[in-house]
Symmetry: C2
Subunit: 281 residues, 2 copies
């Protein structure tokens, strides 16, 4: 698998790159960013995959996430994929809404036409991209973790729960935890997976836990000034599910913070330290 370098900029002692490749899964070109911290020759570093939220590309967290300083201190590679396939031939939301289609892949493999052909973000982020990264960057595939924001927090938690042996840590900023029960999720899972709600459960963190999926522990931050908190995010549903399943959950309500990267960047360092501890143990 070949990749094309879009840009490289030295930063915080490491190299922030943006790369493009022809994806087997999405049948489109996909762009992603990778930060490689300073490291010794022949080093194989732990790698954190960051899944972004609605409307984002790789660029939002790359520009505004403030992760490079911590990654350089901790020796972590940081990978940020796009949130959907893109291109003139890729179908989007019929009304060009922000919460479905382009920029809103929801980290599922769609089964419904016309989305099934390109919208394969589950396989992309869990299989194709990790292999591509392992092939081209100095990472240790046995030490990977995942975090995400909002729709990407949903992605991170579901990816971890269904791949317990492949991710050593998982955390989220303001995640959607029960897409089957909230408007964003109902629209997206219905559109990509069809009306049969049983098929949605493996893409719903709370449902996965109810159905027996487990992960060693989670760290979740949300802001109490988040405009999406009560309708779309509903962290209390995750709290209840984790309590019933005895999954240790560090759930932090951050006073005065909203849904933006001003919130994410504030706690990014905390999350990366938390990941590093688990990636290096």
């Amino acid at each position: 698998m070949t990749i094309q370098t879009v840009s490289q900029n030295k930063s915080h002692g490491g190299m922030q790159g943006v790369y493009k490749h022809a994806s087997r899964e999405t049948r489109t070109d996909m762009t992603f960013s990778v930060f490689v911290p300073p490291h010794g020759k022949d080093a194989k570093l732990p790698v954190v995959f960051y899944l972004s939220g609605l409307t984002c590309t790789h660029a939002n967290v790359t520009e505004k996430g403030e992760y490079r300083r911590a990654c350089s201190e901790l020796g972590l590679v940081f990978v940020a994929p796009d949130t959907s396939p893109r291109g003139a031939d890729v179908p989007g939301d019929p009304k060009n809404a922000y919460d479905f289609g382009l920029g809103a892949g929801f980290y599922v493999d769609a089964t419904e036409p016309p989305f099934a052909k390109n919208y394969r973000m589950w396989s992309y982020v869990t299989d194709e991209l990790p292999k591509l990264v392992a092939e081209h960057f100095p990472v240790d595939p046995s030490r990977q973790s995942v975090l995400g924001h909002s729709m990407g927090g949903h992605g991170a938690l579901t990816v971890a729960l269904r791949n317990r042996d492949r991710y050593r840590a998982a955390s989220a900023f303001a995640p959607i935890v029960a897409p089957s029960q909230v408007p964003w999720g109902i629209k997206a899972l219905g559109g990509y997976l069809g009306d049969e709600k049983q098929a949605w459960r493996k893409h719903d963190t709370v449902a996965l836990i109810e159905d027996g999926a487990r992960f060693p522990e989670f760290l979740v931050d949300y802001g109490d000034a988040d405009q999406f908190l009560n309708e779309q995010l509903r962290p209390e549903l995750l709290k209840t599910a984790c309590e019933k399943a005895n999954i240790p959950l560090t759930l932090r309500r951050q006073s005065g913070y909203d849904h933006s990267y001003y919130f994410i960047s504030t706690f990014m360092g905390d999350h990366l330290h938390w990941h590093a501890t688990r990636l290096k143990s």
Copy 2:
């Protein structure tokens, strides 16, 4: 003087705001950002003014500068103005070039028509904006400093040299140090100030020092992979001028870094610590 709040987002324990006001100097609305770190009631904090480079608005450094963590730790207010007046009635570059007119005010008060009416960025950043900030935010006007990038580094150094008593520290990332001698500066100073080169000298750091202006010390970082280094920035001219004038200059060549915010954000913390030491002494 009244200001209008465009947005406020809690970040790193403080408040990142964007504000708008009708400027007396530019006769346009001007937008600027202010970060206020966590502070006690009735506190009056030191304030750092950041002057941006060509093509930028307040938004570039606000989103990509990674200054909030250090400002919160150090108790610094951080103010970022726009780089020119803007609006349908504001004249720009006749060919819409990026290096003159809109986004390229060069921190001068223009004397040439049609720019003299609106392009008054010198008076805006040295007088109107500091007063506005002192009126609306918890700052101590006796403890202010200035830093900037590229065109804004030029702004920071000239502002400091001509107002030695008002700024306690001045530093720059990849500044233009001798605009009278480089293409960007020759175009801008000629366009705003006319062909008489004597009038340019008070907006040229190297010329100001040659003409006797002094400042206690400067910190300047530049990247040796900066594409503008040899033609537009020419830090060696600043080094020579400071040596002749016995101005202590900490001039750091940063290996592998370019002209972007990936460079700036790497060394922003260093600069803010340097400013804080001098603002609090």
